[in-house]
């Protein structure tokens, strides 16, 4: 068969396939129905014709045209869309806590790398307050002290940024940024994640030790304890996700490093989704609840205890029996 005969014989098929694809890709509100059977059969035929055209070294324009036609159809037929409310419900109800439990070794390691520097620095700074200057400069230290002093109008912020909403935005941008950094730097064999976890742990611990030593513990702890349930958990979880990436690169097992990394990323990203949710809750609590002075301390601690039990219980039990 000559190229011209080939083109003439299948032209109608190609045009019909093109029309069907065009209709499917237009995303109309009320799409015209397209027969899946017809589409699949035209696609398979086009694949066959492309293979023939290549084998017979037909002119490039025919091969190009078939190549584009089949690749467009391939995209339409095999695409997977997994967005939507159903997916979100599955993520919260089952996938997120289950994936976290499946990565419990990473979660415990991340917890240790985060908590050990936090406690160590906290104690060191508490015993020797001058050490705070090795973490932050004097102005920042003074600013922290002012934020949690008994005379501050609302806790945890300076007067010039007193609006709750402004702080809400700030917490979202800053904290989720830290979380993403913890996750992404796992790509460097996990070293980046270890660094960011330890660094943030040491920083938080140092500030806590300093403020405790200054006698501001009741303001400070009543401020951080509620949203800490979400925020500290989320930092540790993003760290665990980063460690998973790093581990896949260092010890890929039976796979190639590339395959191991792709698989690890696909699983770890579910942890990051959940952590982002926790960060958002934390930001809202931090901006509108933790900073409020009018709430009596016992109530704050009571709510905080519920939050901690809720978060840990959720990660521990949720979705265990779901199928």
């Amino acid at each position: 068969m000559t190229p011209l005969q080939f083109e003439a014989r299948y032209q109608a098929d190609w045009e019909e396939l093109q029309r069907l694809l065009h209709r499917l890709q237009r995303h109309e509100r009320v799409p015209e129905p397209v027969s899946a059977e017809r589409l699949a059969s035209l696609y398979r035929r086009a694949c066959e014709q492309l293979a023939l055209a290549r084998a017979r070294a037909y002119p490039t324009h025919i091969i190009e045209r078939l190549n584009q036609l089949t690749s467009d159809a391939h995209q339409v037929i095999y695409q997977q869309r997994e967005l939507g409310l159903g997916r979100l419900r599955r993520l919260i109800g089952r996938d997120f806590p289950c994936v976290v439990r499946a990565h419990s070794a990473y979660v415990w390691l991340a917890t240790a790398v985060f908590a050990v520097p936090m406690v160590t620095l906290g104690l060191l700074v508490y015993l020797n307050p001058d050490l705070i200057l090795s973490i932050v400069d004097p102005r920042t230290a003074a600013a922290f002290e002012a934020m949690y002093s008994d005379t501050a109008k609302s806790i945890g912020r300076l007067d010039n940024a007193e609006r709750d909403w402004a702080m809400f935005g700030f917490y979202i941008r800053h904290n989720i940024g830290i979380g993403f950094q913890c996750f992404a730097s796992g790509l460097f064999a996990g070293v980046g994640t270890l660094f960011f976890l330890a660094f943030n742990g040491a920083y938080i611990g140092g500030i806590a030790g300093y403020l405790t030593e200054r006698g501001l513990s009741s303001t400070f702890y009543s401020f951080v304890v509620t949203h800490g349930a979400f925020e500290l958990t989320a930092i540790v979880l993003t760290g665990a996700a980063g460690l998973r990436l790093g581990h896949a690169l260092v010890a890929p097992g039976p796979r190639t490093r590339r395959e191991a990394l792709i698989l690890a990323a696909r699983e770890a990203i579910v942890i990051v989704y959940g952590a982002v949710g926790l960060f958002l809750i934390a930001a809202a609590i931090e901006a509108f609840w933790s900073s409020a002075r009018w709430i009596p301390l016992p109530l704050k601690y009571g709510v905080a205890a519920c939050c901690w039990i809720g978060v840990l219980g959720y990660l521990w039990r949720q979705g265990r029996h779901a199928r």
Partner: protein
């Protein structure tokens, strides 16, 4: 054939050809996106300046969304690319040529934080320059590829000349070469066309000769191969 073409095999056993986009195109796409984002932030900042703390909070949330969610939202749209990439004719697809999945889009865009290190996307640049498929770290982990959107091939107009049977049967790749020459004929100068046709002159039995007459005969063979007999 370009040396950077990646072919992805479909379940039907045919290879789909993907053309990965290089550093230059991706850099300009990034710059464009960056300008768009800065433009949005400035416009919004002007609009919310009167709203005080509330507006400032919204502005920070917007900055956060633009930094992390802007690429994800656009990559998952029907175009599969941010406006900057779209302007440069690029598109993000999975390694197998399929549209990008939400998980892959989140992975490649969150790992931006790693690509950015140590400064100014250093890791991304090194990775892109070292690889044949120009992937940055996020692309490697997400199994994605930034490709040039295929352009619709222009219909080939081959000049009408008298068909002429080749002097002996031609191998498929020789046939393809002669037809490809005929397809390019209208875009070449007369002299260059004669030169190239002289290389293929043996198909019409004119080995060793050249000139407009030989060219016409070679193009005639192309006509015959295409099926005009």
């Amino acid at each position: 054939m370009l040396d950077t073409v990646v072919s992805a095999e479909t379940p039907e056993g045919i290879a789909v050809e993907l053309r990965p986009a290089g550093f230059g195109a991706r850099y300009f796409a990034y710059l464009l996106d960056q300008f768009i984002r800065i433009g949005i932030v400035y416009t919004f900042a002007l609009a919310t300046i009167i709203m005080g703390g509330f507006g400032f909070g919204l502005l920070l949330i917007l900055a956060f969304a633009l930094e992390w969610l802007y690429p994800v939202a656009f990559e998952l749209s029907r175009w599969g690319a941010t406006p900057g990439k779209r302007a440069l004719g690029l598109k993000v697809v999975m390694d197998n040529g399929l549209p990008i999945t939400p998980a892959a889009s989140f992975i490649r865009n969150l790992l931006r934080a790693a690509d950015f290190l140590p400064a100014a996307y250093g890791a991304a640049v090194v990775s892109m320059l070292l690889r044949r498929d120009f992937k940055r770290l996020g692309d490697i982990a997400a199994n994605t590829l930034v490709v040039h959107r295929p352009t619709t091939p222009a219909p080939v107009a081959i000049e009408d000349v008298e068909p002429l049977a080749p002097v002996r049967p031609l191998q498929p790749q020789d046939q393809a070469a002669v037809v490809a020459l005929a397809a390019r004929a209208s875009r070449l100068t007369r002299e260059r066309l004669d030169e190239l046709a002289a290389l293929a002159a043996w198909v019409s039995g004119d080995m060793g000769r050249s000139g407009p007459e030989v060219t016409r005969r070679v193009l005639g063979v192309a006509q015959w191969l295409l099926g005009r007999r």
